[in-house]
Protein backbone atom coordinates (compact mmCIF):
# COMPACT_ATOMS: atom_id res chain seq x y z
CA UNK A 1 0.00 0.00 0.00
CA UNK A 2 2.66 2.39 -0.86
CA UNK A 3 0.83 5.18 -2.45
CA UNK A 4 -0.43 8.54 -1.44
CA UNK A 5 -3.83 8.54 0.08
CA UNK A 6 -5.84 11.01 -1.89
CA UNK A 7 -9.23 12.53 -1.62
CA UNK A 8 -11.50 12.10 -4.56
CA UNK A 9 -14.32 14.54 -4.37
CA UNK A 10 -17.81 13.15 -4.52
CA UNK A 11 -20.98 15.16 -4.62
CA UNK A 12 -22.77 15.84 -1.37
CA UNK A 13 -25.44 13.21 -2.03
CA UNK A 14 -22.98 10.41 -2.47
CA UNK A 15 -21.13 11.48 0.61
CA UNK A 16 -24.34 11.34 2.56
CA UNK A 17 -25.06 7.94 1.15
CA UNK A 18 -21.65 6.68 2.09
CA UNK A 19 -21.95 7.96 5.61
CA UNK A 20 -25.50 6.83 6.12
CA UNK A 21 -24.74 3.49 4.63
CA UNK A 22 -21.86 2.93 6.94
CA UNK A 23 -23.72 3.96 10.05
CA UNK A 24 -26.95 2.24 9.13
CA UNK A 25 -25.16 -1.08 8.84
CA UNK A 26 -27.21 -2.82 11.48
CA UNK A 27 -30.63 -1.33 11.11
CA UNK A 28 -31.08 -1.62 7.36
CA UNK A 29 -29.91 -5.19 7.26
CA UNK A 30 -32.99 -6.17 9.20
CA UNK A 31 -35.41 -4.43 6.91
CA UNK A 32 -34.37 -6.02 3.65
CA UNK A 33 -33.42 -9.59 4.16
CA UNK A 34 -32.68 -11.11 0.83
CA UNK A 35 -31.84 -9.30 -2.31
CA UNK A 36 -29.27 -10.84 -4.53
CA UNK A 37 -27.99 -13.28 -2.01
CA UNK A 38 -28.77 -16.45 -3.89
CA UNK A 39 -26.91 -19.70 -3.71
CA UNK A 40 -24.76 -18.88 -6.74
CA UNK A 41 -23.86 -15.55 -5.18
CA UNK A 42 -22.77 -17.27 -2.00
CA UNK A 43 -20.66 -19.77 -3.89
CA UNK A 44 -19.03 -17.08 -6.02
CA UNK A 45 -18.24 -14.91 -2.98
CA UNK A 46 -16.79 -17.90 -1.18
CA UNK A 47 -14.56 -18.68 -4.15
CA UNK A 48 -13.37 -15.08 -4.41
CA UNK A 49 -12.68 -14.95 -0.68
CA UNK A 50 -10.69 -18.17 -0.82
CA UNK A 51 -8.65 -17.00 -3.82
CA UNK A 52 -7.92 -13.79 -1.97
CA UNK A 53 -6.72 -15.48 1.18
CA UNK A 54 -4.75 -18.43 -0.21
CA UNK A 55 -1.57 -16.61 -1.28
CA UNK A 56 -1.07 -15.05 2.16
CA UNK A 57 -2.03 -18.28 3.86
CA UNK A 58 0.54 -20.23 1.83
CA UNK A 59 3.27 -17.78 2.76
CA UNK A 60 2.30 -17.96 6.40
CA UNK A 61 2.37 -21.78 6.49
CA UNK A 62 5.67 -21.85 4.62
CA UNK A 63 7.36 -19.48 7.01
CA UNK A 64 7.16 -22.21 9.68
CA UNK A 65 8.53 -25.00 7.49
CA UNK A 66 12.17 -26.08 7.55
CA UNK A 67 14.38 -24.89 4.72
CA UNK A 68 14.72 -28.22 2.85
CA UNK A 69 10.96 -28.69 2.84
CA UNK A 70 10.13 -25.17 1.63
CA UNK A 71 12.54 -25.51 -1.23
CA UNK A 72 11.51 -28.96 -2.39
CA UNK A 73 7.80 -29.40 -1.66
CA UNK A 74 4.70 -27.30 -1.93
CA UNK A 75 3.15 -25.93 1.25
CA UNK A 76 -0.12 -27.65 0.35
CA UNK A 77 1.63 -30.98 0.93
CA UNK A 78 2.21 -30.08 4.56
CA UNK A 79 0.40 -33.21 5.73
CA UNK A 80 2.49 -35.55 3.59
CA UNK A 81 5.67 -33.62 4.46
CA UNK A 82 5.15 -32.37 7.99
CA UNK A 83 7.69 -30.16 9.66
CA UNK A 84 7.52 -27.21 11.99
CA UNK A 85 10.26 -24.81 13.01
CA UNK A 86 10.78 -21.31 14.31
CA UNK A 87 14.32 -21.23 12.98
CA UNK A 88 13.39 -19.05 10.00
CA UNK A 89 12.15 -16.33 12.32
CA UNK A 90 15.06 -16.48 14.74
CA UNK A 91 17.49 -16.46 11.85
CA UNK A 92 16.10 -13.44 10.01
CA UNK A 93 15.60 -11.47 13.20
CA UNK A 94 18.59 -12.23 15.37
CA UNK A 95 21.34 -13.99 13.46
CA UNK A 96 24.35 -11.70 13.32
CA UNK A 97 26.19 -13.50 10.52
CA UNK A 98 27.06 -11.14 7.69
CA UNK A 99 24.84 -12.88 5.14
CA UNK A 100 21.78 -12.96 7.41
CA UNK A 101 18.98 -10.44 6.85
CA UNK A 102 19.41 -8.98 10.38
CA UNK A 103 15.88 -7.67 10.37
CA UNK A 104 15.96 -6.54 13.99
CA UNK A 105 17.71 -3.28 13.11
CA UNK A 106 15.40 -2.63 10.16
CA UNK A 107 12.32 -3.33 12.21
CA UNK A 108 13.48 -0.72 14.70
CA UNK A 109 14.11 1.67 11.81
CA UNK A 110 10.57 1.20 10.55
CA UNK A 111 9.25 2.13 13.98
CA UNK A 112 11.63 5.07 14.37
CA UNK A 113 10.61 6.40 10.96
CA UNK A 114 6.88 5.83 11.23
CA UNK A 115 5.98 7.02 14.72
CA UNK A 116 7.49 10.53 14.55
CA UNK A 117 6.17 11.08 11.02
CA UNK A 118 2.64 10.31 12.16
CA UNK A 119 3.00 12.83 14.99
CA UNK A 120 4.58 15.54 12.83
CA UNK A 121 2.12 15.31 9.96
CA UNK A 122 -0.95 15.10 12.17
CA UNK A 123 -0.04 18.08 14.36
CA UNK A 124 1.13 20.37 11.54
CA UNK A 125 -1.90 19.49 9.44
CA UNK A 126 -4.29 20.09 12.33
CA UNK A 127 -2.78 23.56 12.84
CA UNK A 128 -3.03 24.44 9.16
CA UNK A 129 -6.54 23.05 8.92
CA UNK A 130 -7.59 25.13 11.91
CA UNK A 131 -6.14 28.28 10.38
CA UNK A 132 -7.87 27.63 7.06
CA UNK A 133 -11.19 26.88 8.72
CA UNK A 134 -11.40 29.35 11.59
CA UNK A 135 -9.05 32.28 11.01
CA UNK A 136 -10.76 34.28 8.29
CA UNK A 137 -8.43 35.81 5.72
CA UNK A 138 -8.39 36.57 2.03
CA UNK A 139 -7.37 33.70 -0.20
CA UNK A 140 -8.08 30.95 2.33
CA UNK A 141 -10.28 29.23 -0.18
CA UNK A 142 -7.60 29.31 -2.87
CA UNK A 143 -4.90 27.99 -0.59
CA UNK A 144 -7.20 25.17 0.40
CA UNK A 145 -7.96 24.23 -3.20
CA UNK A 146 -4.27 24.43 -4.03
CA UNK A 147 -3.41 22.03 -1.22
CA UNK A 148 -6.15 19.72 -2.37
CA UNK A 149 -4.74 19.66 -5.88
CA UNK A 150 -1.26 18.92 -4.53
CA UNK A 151 -2.44 15.56 -3.21
CA UNK A 152 -2.55 14.16 -6.66
CA UNK A 153 0.81 15.45 -7.87
CA UNK A 154 2.85 12.26 -8.14
CA UNK A 155 5.55 12.38 -5.52
CA UNK A 156 7.92 11.20 -8.23
CA UNK A 157 7.84 14.83 -9.34
CA UNK A 158 9.47 15.92 -6.09
CA UNK A 159 12.10 13.29 -5.48
CA UNK A 160 15.17 14.47 -7.39
CA UNK A 161 15.18 18.17 -6.41
CA UNK A 162 14.26 17.36 -2.82
CA UNK A 163 17.17 14.96 -2.56
CA UNK A 164 19.51 17.61 -3.99
CA UNK A 165 18.26 20.16 -1.48
CA UNK A 166 18.71 17.74 1.39
CA UNK A 167 22.26 16.97 0.34
CA UNK A 168 23.12 20.67 0.15
CA UNK A 169 21.37 21.98 3.25
CA UNK A 170 20.53 19.14 5.56
CA UNK A 171 23.61 16.95 5.35
CA UNK A 172 25.93 19.53 6.98
CA UNK A 173 23.48 19.78 9.87
CA UNK A 174 23.37 16.00 10.19
CA UNK A 175 27.19 15.96 10.26
CA UNK A 176 27.23 18.63 12.96
CA UNK A 177 24.79 16.62 15.09
CA UNK A 178 26.99 13.57 14.65
CA UNK A 179 30.02 15.58 15.85
CA UNK A 180 28.26 16.59 19.03
CA UNK A 181 26.37 13.35 19.68
CA UNK A 182 28.42 10.51 18.16
CA UNK A 183 25.67 8.06 19.05
CA UNK A 184 23.48 9.56 16.32
CA UNK A 185 24.91 8.49 12.95
CA UNK A 186 25.46 11.02 10.17
CA UNK A 187 22.83 9.26 8.13
CA UNK A 188 20.00 9.89 10.58
CA UNK A 189 16.25 9.74 10.18
CA UNK A 190 15.83 13.46 9.57
CA UNK A 191 15.62 13.28 5.77
CA UNK A 192 13.08 10.48 5.72
CA UNK A 193 11.02 12.19 8.44
CA UNK A 194 10.84 15.47 6.57
CA UNK A 195 10.09 13.85 3.21
CA UNK A 196 7.30 11.67 4.57
CA UNK A 197 5.80 14.51 6.58
CA UNK A 198 5.65 16.72 3.51
CA UNK A 199 4.12 14.03 1.32
CA UNK A 200 1.51 13.29 3.96
CA UNK A 201 0.45 16.89 4.55
CA UNK A 202 -1.94 17.50 1.62
CA UNK A 203 -4.25 14.61 2.43
CA UNK A 204 -3.97 15.38 6.14
CA UNK A 205 -4.90 19.03 5.76
CA UNK A 206 -7.78 18.16 3.47
CA UNK A 207 -9.24 15.46 5.71
CA UNK A 208 -8.82 17.41 8.93
CA UNK A 209 -10.14 20.62 7.40
CA UNK A 210 -13.35 18.89 6.34
CA UNK A 211 -13.88 17.77 9.90
CA UNK A 212 -12.63 20.83 11.79
CA UNK A 213 -14.66 23.27 9.70
CA UNK A 214 -17.83 21.41 10.75
CA UNK A 215 -17.22 22.02 14.45
CA UNK A 216 -20.04 24.31 15.65
CA UNK A 217 -19.00 27.96 15.45
CA UNK A 218 -20.79 28.76 18.72
CA UNK A 219 -18.24 26.75 20.65
CA UNK A 220 -15.38 28.77 19.24
CA UNK A 221 -17.26 32.06 19.61
CA UNK A 222 -18.00 31.27 23.24
CA UNK A 223 -14.35 30.57 23.91
CA UNK A 224 -13.33 33.83 22.23
CA UNK A 225 -15.81 35.79 24.32
CA UNK A 226 -14.25 34.22 27.39
CA UNK A 227 -10.94 35.64 26.22
CA UNK A 228 -9.34 32.55 24.74
CA UNK A 229 -6.78 33.03 22.00
CA UNK A 230 -6.26 30.89 18.95
CA UNK A 231 -3.57 28.84 20.66
CA UNK A 232 -5.85 27.97 23.56
CA UNK A 233 -8.85 27.33 21.33
CA UNK A 234 -6.75 24.97 19.25
CA UNK A 235 -5.43 23.03 22.22
CA UNK A 236 -8.54 22.99 24.40
CA UNK A 237 -11.37 22.77 21.88
CA UNK A 238 -10.28 21.78 18.40
CA UNK A 239 -7.88 18.96 19.22
CA UNK A 240 -10.11 17.15 21.75
CA UNK A 241 -13.13 17.37 19.44
CA UNK A 242 -11.17 16.13 16.43
CA UNK A 243 -9.91 12.93 17.98
CA UNK A 244 -11.90 10.60 15.68
CA UNK A 245 -10.59 12.14 12.48
CA UNK A 246 -7.09 12.49 13.92
CA UNK A 247 -7.17 8.77 14.66
CA UNK A 248 -8.39 7.95 11.16
CA UNK A 249 -5.68 9.99 9.55
CA UNK A 250 -3.00 8.70 11.89
CA UNK A 251 -3.82 5.14 10.85
CA UNK A 252 -3.60 6.04 7.18
CA UNK A 253 -0.32 7.78 7.65
CA UNK A 254 1.01 4.94 9.77
CA UNK A 255 0.23 2.31 7.16
CA UNK A 256 1.42 4.52 4.34
CA UNK A 257 4.81 5.21 5.89
CA UNK A 258 5.29 1.71 7.23
CA UNK A 259 4.57 0.21 3.81
CA UNK A 260 6.45 2.76 1.73
CA UNK A 261 9.40 1.74 -0.38
CA UNK A 262 10.04 4.59 -2.80
CA UNK A 263 10.65 7.39 -0.30
CA UNK A 264 12.81 5.08 1.79
CA UNK A 265 14.89 4.06 -1.21
CA UNK A 266 15.59 7.66 -2.16
CA UNK A 267 16.16 9.27 1.24
CA UNK A 268 17.43 6.60 3.62
CA UNK A 269 20.80 5.84 2.08
CA UNK A 270 20.03 2.13 2.26
CA UNK A 271 22.10 1.26 5.34
CA UNK A 272 21.00 -0.52 8.50
CA UNK A 273 21.25 2.90 10.19
CA UNK A 274 18.07 4.20 8.60
CA UNK A 275 16.51 1.89 6.00
CA UNK A 276 13.12 0.39 6.92
CA UNK A 277 11.91 -3.20 6.60
CA UNK A 278 10.40 -2.73 3.16
CA UNK A 279 13.74 -1.73 1.70
CA UNK A 280 15.52 -4.70 3.25
CA UNK A 281 12.81 -7.01 1.94
CA UNK A 282 13.10 -5.62 -1.56
CA UNK A 283 16.86 -6.18 -1.37
CA UNK A 284 16.42 -9.75 -0.20
CA UNK A 285 14.03 -10.60 -3.02
CA UNK A 286 16.52 -9.17 -5.47
CA UNK A 287 19.73 -10.77 -4.22
CA UNK A 288 18.50 -13.91 -2.59
CA UNK A 289 15.29 -14.53 -4.45
CA UNK A 290 15.60 -18.28 -3.86
CA UNK A 291 16.05 -18.17 -0.09
CA UNK A 292 12.40 -18.81 0.60
CA UNK A 293 12.94 -19.87 4.20
CA UNK A 294 14.17 -16.35 4.87
CA UNK A 295 11.84 -14.48 2.54
CA UNK A 296 8.67 -16.03 3.91
CA UNK A 297 9.56 -15.30 7.53
CA UNK A 298 10.89 -11.84 6.69
CA UNK A 299 7.80 -10.94 4.70
CA UNK A 300 5.58 -12.06 7.51
CA UNK A 301 7.46 -9.98 10.05
CA UNK A 302 6.88 -6.91 7.91
CA UNK A 303 3.18 -7.77 7.59
CA UNK A 304 2.48 -8.33 11.25
CA UNK A 305 2.39 -4.71 12.37
CA UNK A 306 0.11 -3.40 9.59
CA UNK A 307 -2.18 -6.38 10.04
CA UNK A 308 -2.49 -5.78 13.77
CA UNK A 309 -3.18 -2.11 13.17
CA UNK A 310 -5.64 -2.96 10.44
CA UNK A 311 -7.66 -5.58 12.30
CA UNK A 312 -7.75 -3.77 15.63
CA UNK A 313 -8.55 -0.33 14.20
CA UNK A 314 -10.55 -1.30 11.13
CA UNK A 315 -13.50 0.87 12.22
CA UNK A 316 -11.42 4.03 12.22
CA UNK A 317 -9.70 3.02 9.04
CA UNK A 318 -12.95 2.51 7.18
CA UNK A 319 -14.36 5.71 8.64
CA UNK A 320 -11.38 7.64 7.33
CA UNK A 321 -11.85 6.02 3.96
CA UNK A 322 -15.50 6.96 3.80
CA UNK A 323 -15.32 10.38 5.44
CA UNK A 324 -15.72 11.63 1.93
CA UNK A 325 -12.20 10.41 1.70
CA UNK A 326 -10.90 7.73 -0.48
CA UNK A 327 -7.40 6.86 -1.11
CA UNK A 328 -5.27 5.64 -3.95
Amino acid sequence: MTYTPIEVAVDADTKGELRRGYNADGTKAKRVKKRLTSRTATVVSLIIAVIWVIPTFGLFISSFRPEELIKTTGWWTIFQNPGFTLDNYTEVLFSSSASAPQLGAYFMNSIAITVPVVVFATVLAAMAAYALAWIPFKGASWIFIGIFALQIVPLQMALIPLLQMFTTWLLPIQRAINDVFPIIPVQSYIQVWIAHTIFGLPLAIFLLHNFISEIPGELIEAARVDGANHGQIFLRIILPLSVPILASFAIFQFLWVWNDLLVALVFSGGTADVAPLTQRLAELTGNRGQEWQRLTAAAFISLVVPLIVFFSLQRYFVRGLLAGATKG
Partner: protein, 323 residues
Protein backbone atom coordinates in the same frame (compact mmCIF):
# COMPACT_ATOMS: atom_id res chain seq x y z
CA UNK B 1 22.36 -4.57 15.62
CA UNK B 2 24.48 -3.75 18.64
CA UNK B 3 23.09 -2.27 21.82
CA UNK B 4 24.74 1.05 20.98
CA UNK B 5 22.91 1.10 17.63
CA UNK B 6 19.62 0.41 19.35
CA UNK B 7 20.19 3.19 21.88
CA UNK B 8 21.13 5.53 19.04
CA UNK B 9 17.88 4.77 17.27
CA UNK B 10 15.78 5.23 20.39
CA UNK B 11 17.57 8.48 21.20
CA UNK B 12 16.76 9.77 17.73
CA UNK B 13 13.13 8.72 17.98
CA UNK B 14 12.63 10.38 21.34
CA UNK B 15 14.72 13.45 20.52
CA UNK B 16 12.90 13.99 17.24
CA UNK B 17 9.49 14.00 18.86
CA UNK B 18 10.72 16.06 21.83
CA UNK B 19 12.25 18.78 19.64
CA UNK B 20 9.11 18.92 17.53
CA UNK B 21 6.85 19.12 20.58
CA UNK B 22 9.01 21.87 22.06
CA UNK B 23 8.91 23.95 18.87
CA UNK B 24 5.15 23.63 18.45
CA UNK B 25 4.62 24.29 22.15
CA UNK B 26 6.74 27.44 22.01
CA UNK B 27 4.90 28.70 18.93
CA UNK B 28 1.51 28.21 20.57
CA UNK B 29 2.78 29.77 23.81
CA UNK B 30 4.18 32.90 22.22
CA UNK B 31 1.44 33.71 19.75
CA UNK B 32 -1.04 33.97 22.58
CA UNK B 33 1.24 36.59 24.13
CA UNK B 34 1.97 38.43 20.90
CA UNK B 35 1.54 42.21 20.92
CA UNK B 36 -2.07 43.28 20.36
CA UNK B 37 -1.23 45.04 17.12
CA UNK B 38 -1.04 42.55 14.32
CA UNK B 39 -1.78 39.65 16.60
CA UNK B 40 -4.31 38.16 14.19
CA UNK B 41 -1.82 38.10 11.34
CA UNK B 42 0.89 36.62 13.55
CA UNK B 43 -1.43 33.92 14.77
CA UNK B 44 -2.52 33.08 11.27
CA UNK B 45 1.08 32.80 10.12
CA UNK B 46 2.07 30.69 13.11
CA UNK B 47 -0.64 28.16 12.36
CA UNK B 48 -0.43 28.08 8.61
CA UNK B 49 3.16 28.82 7.67
CA UNK B 50 4.88 25.64 8.94
CA UNK B 51 2.72 23.49 6.69
CA UNK B 52 2.87 25.91 3.75
CA UNK B 53 6.65 26.24 3.91
CA UNK B 54 7.07 22.48 3.99
CA UNK B 55 4.70 22.05 1.04
CA UNK B 56 6.50 24.81 -0.82
CA UNK B 57 10.00 23.45 -0.42
CA UNK B 58 8.97 19.81 -0.53
CA UNK B 59 6.39 19.66 -3.30
CA UNK B 60 5.76 22.86 -5.23
CA UNK B 61 9.31 23.98 -5.84
CA UNK B 62 10.64 20.47 -6.59
CA UNK B 63 7.76 19.83 -8.98
CA UNK B 64 8.63 23.00 -10.90
CA UNK B 65 12.31 22.07 -10.92
CA UNK B 66 11.44 18.61 -12.22
CA UNK B 67 9.28 20.07 -14.95
CA UNK B 68 12.26 22.19 -16.06
CA UNK B 69 14.76 19.35 -15.68
CA UNK B 70 12.69 17.28 -18.09
CA UNK B 71 14.12 19.46 -20.84
CA UNK B 72 17.77 19.04 -19.83
CA UNK B 73 20.34 16.27 -20.24
CA UNK B 74 22.39 14.60 -17.51
CA UNK B 75 24.86 17.52 -17.54
CA UNK B 76 22.04 19.98 -16.95
CA UNK B 77 22.18 21.54 -20.42
CA UNK B 78 18.99 22.46 -22.18
CA UNK B 79 18.23 19.86 -24.83
CA UNK B 80 14.70 20.74 -25.83
CA UNK B 81 12.47 17.76 -26.36
CA UNK B 82 15.25 15.17 -26.57
CA UNK B 83 14.12 13.31 -23.45
CA UNK B 84 10.61 13.05 -24.82
CA UNK B 85 11.89 11.96 -28.20
CA UNK B 86 13.83 9.24 -26.39
CA UNK B 87 10.71 8.23 -24.51
CA UNK B 88 8.57 7.89 -27.59
CA UNK B 89 11.11 6.28 -29.91
CA UNK B 90 13.35 3.90 -27.92
CA UNK B 91 11.88 0.39 -27.85
CA UNK B 92 12.45 -0.06 -24.09
CA UNK B 93 10.84 3.25 -23.28
CA UNK B 94 7.92 2.46 -25.55
CA UNK B 95 7.38 -0.85 -23.78
CA UNK B 96 7.27 1.08 -20.51
CA UNK B 97 4.57 3.36 -21.84
CA UNK B 98 2.64 0.45 -23.33
CA UNK B 99 2.76 -1.43 -20.03
CA UNK B 100 1.55 1.59 -18.08
CA UNK B 101 -1.42 1.87 -20.40
CA UNK B 102 -2.23 -1.83 -19.99
CA UNK B 103 -1.99 -1.44 -16.22
CA UNK B 104 -4.21 1.59 -16.05
CA UNK B 105 -6.87 -0.01 -18.23
CA UNK B 106 -6.96 -3.43 -16.60
CA UNK B 107 -6.47 -2.74 -12.89
CA UNK B 108 -9.30 -0.24 -12.28
CA UNK B 109 -11.74 -2.12 -14.52
CA UNK B 110 -11.20 -5.59 -13.12
CA UNK B 111 -10.87 -4.48 -9.48
CA UNK B 112 -14.07 -2.50 -9.73
CA UNK B 113 -16.02 -5.27 -11.43
CA UNK B 114 -14.91 -7.94 -8.97
CA UNK B 115 -15.38 -5.51 -6.10
CA UNK B 116 -18.87 -4.58 -7.23
CA UNK B 117 -19.95 -8.17 -7.73
CA UNK B 118 -18.52 -9.19 -4.39
CA UNK B 119 -19.99 -6.22 -2.52
CA UNK B 120 -23.35 -6.97 -4.07
CA UNK B 121 -23.20 -10.69 -3.32
CA UNK B 122 -22.18 -10.38 0.30
CA UNK B 123 -24.57 -7.52 1.01
CA UNK B 124 -26.70 -8.45 4.00
CA UNK B 125 -25.44 -12.00 3.97
CA UNK B 126 -24.34 -13.76 7.09
CA UNK B 127 -20.71 -13.10 7.95
CA UNK B 128 -20.59 -9.99 5.78
CA UNK B 129 -18.00 -8.35 8.01
CA UNK B 130 -15.66 -11.33 7.82
CA UNK B 131 -16.06 -11.54 4.07
CA UNK B 132 -15.17 -7.88 3.82
CA UNK B 133 -12.16 -8.15 6.13
CA UNK B 134 -10.73 -11.05 4.18
CA UNK B 135 -10.74 -9.26 0.86
CA UNK B 136 -9.77 -5.91 2.38
CA UNK B 137 -6.73 -7.29 4.19
CA UNK B 138 -4.24 -7.05 1.29
CA UNK B 139 -4.94 -3.30 1.25
CA UNK B 140 -3.22 -2.93 4.62
CA UNK B 141 0.02 -4.65 3.71
CA UNK B 142 2.91 -3.25 1.72
CA UNK B 143 3.31 -3.74 -2.01
CA UNK B 144 6.68 -5.25 -1.20
CA UNK B 145 5.01 -7.82 1.04
CA UNK B 146 2.36 -8.45 -1.59
CA UNK B 147 5.11 -8.83 -4.17
CA UNK B 148 6.84 -11.53 -2.12
CA UNK B 149 3.56 -13.32 -1.44
CA UNK B 150 2.82 -13.54 -5.14
CA UNK B 151 6.37 -14.25 -6.21
CA UNK B 152 6.03 -17.35 -4.10
CA UNK B 153 2.81 -18.27 -5.92
CA UNK B 154 4.58 -17.85 -9.28
CA UNK B 155 7.73 -19.74 -8.22
CA UNK B 156 9.14 -22.17 -10.78
CA UNK B 157 10.69 -25.63 -10.45
CA UNK B 158 11.80 -27.57 -13.54
CA UNK B 159 9.37 -30.16 -14.84
CA UNK B 160 9.61 -33.50 -13.08
CA UNK B 161 10.42 -31.97 -9.71
CA UNK B 162 7.86 -31.06 -7.06
CA UNK B 163 6.52 -27.58 -7.68
CA UNK B 164 6.60 -25.14 -4.77
CA UNK B 165 4.68 -22.35 -6.52
CA UNK B 166 0.92 -22.84 -6.48
CA UNK B 167 0.34 -21.58 -10.02
CA UNK B 168 2.79 -24.02 -11.62
CA UNK B 169 1.40 -26.81 -9.46
CA UNK B 170 -2.07 -26.11 -10.81
CA UNK B 171 -0.68 -26.12 -14.34
CA UNK B 172 1.02 -29.46 -13.67
CA UNK B 173 -2.15 -30.92 -12.15
CA UNK B 174 -3.90 -30.13 -15.39
CA UNK B 175 -1.12 -31.88 -17.30
CA UNK B 176 0.82 -28.81 -18.42
CA UNK B 177 4.50 -27.92 -18.28
CA UNK B 178 5.69 -25.53 -15.57
CA UNK B 179 6.49 -22.02 -16.83
CA UNK B 180 9.01 -19.40 -15.70
CA UNK B 181 6.12 -17.00 -15.27
CA UNK B 182 7.93 -13.81 -14.30
CA UNK B 183 10.51 -14.13 -17.05
CA UNK B 184 8.07 -14.70 -19.90
CA UNK B 185 6.61 -11.62 -21.55
CA UNK B 186 3.88 -10.68 -22.13
CA UNK B 187 2.19 -12.89 -19.55
CA UNK B 188 4.48 -11.59 -16.76
CA UNK B 189 3.01 -8.10 -16.96
CA UNK B 190 -0.45 -9.58 -16.60
CA UNK B 191 0.68 -11.55 -13.56
CA UNK B 192 2.03 -8.38 -11.94
CA UNK B 193 -1.30 -6.74 -12.67
CA UNK B 194 -3.01 -9.58 -10.81
CA UNK B 195 -1.11 -8.51 -7.68
CA UNK B 196 -2.33 -4.94 -7.98
CA UNK B 197 -5.90 -6.15 -8.53
CA UNK B 198 -5.53 -8.36 -5.47
CA UNK B 199 -4.56 -5.30 -3.41
CA UNK B 200 -7.10 -2.84 -4.79
CA UNK B 201 -10.27 -4.93 -4.93
CA UNK B 202 -10.76 -4.72 -1.17
CA UNK B 203 -10.84 -0.96 -1.40
CA UNK B 204 -13.51 -1.17 -4.10
CA UNK B 205 -15.53 -3.60 -1.97
CA UNK B 206 -15.50 -1.40 1.12
CA UNK B 207 -16.51 1.80 -0.66
CA UNK B 208 -19.07 0.19 -2.96
CA UNK B 209 -20.57 -1.88 -0.18
CA UNK B 210 -21.15 1.28 1.86
CA UNK B 211 -22.70 2.94 -1.20
CA UNK B 212 -25.00 -0.02 -1.82
CA UNK B 213 -26.24 0.23 1.75
CA UNK B 214 -26.99 3.89 1.12
CA UNK B 215 -29.54 3.14 -1.58
CA UNK B 216 -33.01 4.04 -0.24
CA UNK B 217 -34.89 0.91 0.74
CA UNK B 218 -38.06 2.29 -0.84
CA UNK B 219 -36.51 2.10 -4.29
CA UNK B 220 -35.56 -1.51 -3.80
CA UNK B 221 -39.00 -2.38 -2.44
CA UNK B 222 -40.63 -0.62 -5.37
CA UNK B 223 -38.49 -2.69 -7.73
CA UNK B 224 -39.57 -5.82 -5.88
CA UNK B 225 -43.23 -4.86 -6.22
CA UNK B 226 -42.72 -4.38 -9.95
CA UNK B 227 -41.55 -7.96 -10.05
CA UNK B 228 -38.01 -7.35 -11.28
CA UNK B 229 -35.45 -10.11 -11.10
CA UNK B 230 -32.11 -9.72 -9.38
CA UNK B 231 -30.22 -8.59 -12.47
CA UNK B 232 -32.82 -5.98 -13.49
CA UNK B 233 -32.86 -4.61 -9.98
CA UNK B 234 -29.09 -4.42 -10.04
CA UNK B 235 -28.85 -2.54 -13.32
CA UNK B 236 -31.86 -0.27 -12.80
CA UNK B 237 -31.68 0.53 -9.10
CA UNK B 238 -28.32 -0.36 -7.62
CA UNK B 239 -26.03 0.86 -10.39
CA UNK B 240 -27.58 4.33 -10.79
CA UNK B 241 -27.71 4.62 -7.01
CA UNK B 242 -23.98 4.16 -6.57
CA UNK B 243 -22.73 6.07 -9.60
CA UNK B 244 -20.85 8.61 -7.50
CA UNK B 245 -19.08 5.94 -5.50
CA UNK B 246 -18.15 4.10 -8.69
CA UNK B 247 -16.45 7.23 -10.03
CA UNK B 248 -14.52 7.57 -6.78
CA UNK B 249 -13.36 3.98 -6.89
CA UNK B 250 -12.30 4.01 -10.53
CA UNK B 251 -10.41 7.31 -10.35
CA UNK B 252 -8.71 6.46 -7.09
CA UNK B 253 -7.53 3.08 -8.30
CA UNK B 254 -6.41 4.63 -11.60
CA UNK B 255 -4.18 7.12 -9.82
CA UNK B 256 -2.73 4.43 -7.57
CA UNK B 257 -2.05 2.28 -10.62
CA UNK B 258 -0.32 5.06 -12.52
CA UNK B 259 2.08 5.48 -9.62
CA UNK B 260 2.71 1.78 -9.10
CA UNK B 261 6.36 1.18 -8.42
CA UNK B 262 7.02 -1.27 -5.62
CA UNK B 263 5.31 -4.28 -7.17
CA UNK B 264 7.38 -4.07 -10.32
CA UNK B 265 10.53 -3.25 -8.38
CA UNK B 266 10.18 -6.22 -6.03
CA UNK B 267 8.97 -8.86 -8.45
CA UNK B 268 10.94 -8.31 -11.64
CA UNK B 269 12.95 -5.14 -11.10
CA UNK B 270 11.40 -3.92 -14.33
CA UNK B 271 13.26 -6.57 -16.35
CA UNK B 272 11.75 -8.90 -18.92
CA UNK B 273 9.66 -6.12 -20.47
CA UNK B 274 7.66 -5.44 -17.32
CA UNK B 275 8.75 -1.90 -16.51
CA UNK B 276 6.21 0.87 -15.97
CA UNK B 277 6.62 4.65 -16.00
CA UNK B 278 7.02 5.06 -12.23
CA UNK B 279 9.64 2.31 -12.06
CA UNK B 280 11.50 3.52 -15.14
CA UNK B 281 11.53 7.01 -13.63
CA UNK B 282 13.34 5.67 -10.59
CA UNK B 283 15.72 3.57 -12.66
CA UNK B 284 16.63 6.46 -14.97
CA UNK B 285 16.98 9.09 -12.27
CA UNK B 286 18.69 7.14 -9.50
CA UNK B 287 20.32 4.14 -11.17
CA UNK B 288 21.20 5.21 -14.73
CA UNK B 289 21.95 8.77 -13.54
CA UNK B 290 19.83 10.34 -16.25
CA UNK B 291 17.81 12.82 -14.17
CA UNK B 292 16.57 14.48 -17.35
CA UNK B 293 14.90 11.31 -18.55
CA UNK B 294 13.63 10.54 -15.07
CA UNK B 295 12.12 14.02 -14.85
CA UNK B 296 10.53 13.64 -18.27
CA UNK B 297 8.90 10.39 -17.12
CA UNK B 298 7.69 12.04 -13.92
CA UNK B 299 6.24 14.84 -15.99
CA UNK B 300 4.39 12.32 -18.15
CA UNK B 301 2.97 10.81 -14.98
CA UNK B 302 1.78 14.24 -13.94
CA UNK B 303 0.19 14.89 -17.32
CA UNK B 304 -1.63 11.57 -17.07
CA UNK B 305 -3.20 12.35 -13.69
CA UNK B 306 -3.88 15.99 -14.56
CA UNK B 307 -7.38 15.41 -15.97
CA UNK B 308 -8.38 13.69 -12.74
CA UNK B 309 -6.99 16.58 -10.70
CA UNK B 310 -8.90 19.11 -12.76
CA UNK B 311 -12.11 17.12 -12.50
CA UNK B 312 -11.78 16.76 -8.75
CA UNK B 313 -10.96 20.41 -8.18
CA UNK B 314 -14.06 21.33 -10.17
CA UNK B 315 -16.28 19.07 -8.09
CA UNK B 316 -14.70 20.41 -4.91
CA UNK B 317 -15.32 24.02 -5.89
CA UNK B 318 -18.94 23.27 -6.69
CA UNK B 319 -19.34 21.68 -3.29
CA UNK B 320 -17.84 24.66 -1.55
CA UNK B 321 -20.16 27.02 -3.38
CA UNK B 322 -23.18 25.01 -2.34
CA UNK B 323 -22.09 25.14 1.29
Amino acid sequence: MTTADLIGKIVQLVAGIAVFAAVVGLILFFIDRAPKRGRDVLQLLAFLLPALILLGIGLVYPAIRTAIAAFANSAGEFVGLDNFVWMFTQPEALITLRNTIIWVILVPTISTIIGLAYANFIDKSRGEKIYKSLIFMPFAISFVGAGIIWKFVYEFRPAGRDQIGLLNQIVVWFGGEPVLWLQSPPVNTLLLIVVMIWVQTGFAVVVLSAAIKGIPTEQLEAADLDGTNGWQKFTNVTLPGIRGALVVVVTTISIATLKVFDIVRTMTGGNFETSVVANEMYTQAFRALEPGRGSALALILFVLVLPIVVYNVRVLRQQREIR
